[in-house]
Symmetry: C2
Subunit: 371 residues, 2 copies
């Protein structure tokens, strides 16, 4: 199949997938590996789908170096679903702590209040969510069931460069991370994490798949009102097949895991290669924005996301013109989230260096037209 | 693309899709309608996906003749998720009623007990779930928040040929139907239904999409503990985009809706054509089974499902041999559910007459080898 250059897709999610993954998914649509069945047509309990599921689980475990005492669950409901599902499973009648660094941690904090006393250990709201509060200043409740952070705020473009060490802060409680928008873009220090969850529709592809990685000792304590479909114990005991899992999403995410593991950058492979590429691409764009007086990113450098880069034109009356010109040049889905405004370039794993260079070339070109 | 004859797929779900739908999904994988984006790569809030969503919603409304005072919601969590989500949204602190006709209504009854006093208005358990209790004998609680039935029991192969008229039974309460495994195979009498839900992975295709069709006056009464992602009011107000919907599933289901609307059988079109085809295929197989002393279906004729046809060999020691021979002839996924045993042929909308004839030819052939 010949294919013209595809446009560059900067969507914050659902987002660009590697072209190779899409081609494989298309080629196997009517017949997966000689089975005569398309993946969407397979019983989730049949040998063919079990093979797909087991490879996806194994590859994700390898990719993120998930320890053997953590379970990987393939679920439904997305990040907003998990905002309820986490406290339903982990709160055990105790209080829960949150650090607010943007829209997503705010939403999680609010939803948890339905099931537990939901407290704020620290908040960056006063900064307009352009910073991450220094962990040394957090007011951590040592009796909380867990402390929740959003390790990458998709809307505000704020990312934890290092996960907090709650033990060092004097609190021996599990850390919960919502890593939806940067999962599989960098390593996770599991010694600091009790549970990680991620909607798949950013870095892994298909909306409707939610990945939960949870330490085994945190499983089995759900509140009686937790719906069975979202009870980690039932999901874990049934290898994510207590109910019919989102089979197509698991398949496509599995293709993405396989693709990430095969990436190379110089002597680096897999996640290390992806991370080096992400750092290079994000630095290139931030450096350009910082050197310009025409564009602006407002996030403190230490808190800037590698994945989601919001920026503003100095003259915001030209936003529509900017977006139309971008689209005409094959630079798609650059509009910022409505709650923040401006622009946002999401540089997920599937973004190429060429895409970032094409964006910067357009940023330069557009700035010149205003001279 | 040339394609050899595909095998015939009798899976109970996830299940066969029309070949035309799979071909379209493959062809559009990298570029939907010239947008330069694959469907999985589109922001759910962009013009491209909104067009896909709106056509799917419109076509489903046409297909099932859904009245204007019913909302169609595209959700996640499947039938097992809805077993909790329905009482979380509709029970309002009142009791809820169930009619037990098989495994699925049993599961629904049990799960609802977490949120409401969950009662049994009638049960066919004594018959081994081979019949549907006469509605005239149901003990309907007139003060229940609703009465729930599974209008087609996938595992036991039992189907309501007519929906009960609760008003005629003296109870002016909403009827809830779990129609997961026969949605879009026959008409629904909405005058008798308050809410219908269906996991999409039987007749519509992609696992991970759940369709809820609910009368507007039943929306807005969720219990405070209902997770926001599964609160019908929030989902409805946000046109199924309170959280990121399962975009690929909506797209594929939309292709299926479009395919159903274009089906023809003689002078019949759309759902009427599909229904005529389903009746013809199911009758052909039941007639064959009934005429045989080698095979047996145990469901009372009046309660037999057009979609899921469980059957048994008289000599069950030959089950493995039967299944191996079937697979060798391209007749796939005929093994019965583990809780019932034996075989099960699911004849969903995508099944062709040729598939049913091929199955019957094999049934005849296999019987002869035992003479």
């Amino acid at each position: 199949m010949t294919q013209l250059q595809r446009p560059f897709n900067f969507s914050a999610g659902p987002a660009a997938l590697p072209e190779e993954v899409l081609q494989t998914a298309a080629a196997e649509m009517l017949d997966w590996h000689g089975s005569g069945l398309g993946v969407m047509e397979m019983s989730h309990r049949g040998a063919e789908f079990i093979a797909i599921y087991e490879k996806a689980e194994r590859d994700l475990r390898t990719l993120l170096a998930v320890p053997s005492d953590y379970r990987i669950l393939f679920m439904q409901g997305g990040g907003i679903g998990e905002n309820a599902i986490v406290p339903l499973n982990l709160s055990r009648g105790a209080a829960v702590d949150f650090v607010l660094t943007g829209s997503w941690s705010q939403k999680s904090h609010k939803e948890a209040g339905k099931y537990a006393h939901s407290q704020i250990a620290a908040s960056a709201e006063a900064s307009g969510f352009t910073a991450i509060p220094d962990p040394a200043t957090w007011q951590v409740n040592q009796k909380a069931a867990y402390l929740h952070i959003c390790s990458n705020e998709t809307i505000h473009g704020v990312e934890f460069q290092e996960l907090p060490d709650l033990k060092a802060l004097g609190a021996d409680i599990p850390l919960v991370i919502d890593c939806s928008s940067h999962i599989a873009s960098r390593t996770i220090d599991w010694s600091r994490v009790g549970l990680a969850f991620a909607g798949a529709q950013k870095n892994l592809g298909p909306a409707g798949l939610t990945i939960v990685i949870v330490r085994e000792d945190l499983i089995g304590h759900a509140l009686p009102i937790c719906p069975s479909a979202f009870n980690y114990e039932l999901v874990a005991k049934n290898d994510s097949m207590y109910n019919t899992p989102p089979t197509w999403g698991i398949y496509v995410a599995g293709l993405v895991f396989d693709w990430v593991l095969r990436q190379q950058e110089g002597s680096l492979t897999g996640l290390a290669a992806i991370e080096a590429r992400n750092i290079r691409q994000a630095s290139r764009l931030y450096d350009f924005l910082d050197a310009s007086s025409f564009y602006q990113n407002r996030v403190q450098p230490a808190a800037r996301s590698r994945m989601n880069i919001p920026f503003f034109l100095t003259d915001e009356s030209r936003n529509a013109e900017f977006l139309a010109g971008a689209k005409a040049r094959g630079l798609l889905q650059l509009k910022g989230h409505k709650s923040v405004g401006g622009m946002r370039a999401s540089l997920y794993n599937a973004m190429s260096d060429a895409g970032v260079e094409a964006l910067i070339a357009y940023l330069q070109e557009f700035e010149k037209t205003s001279a």
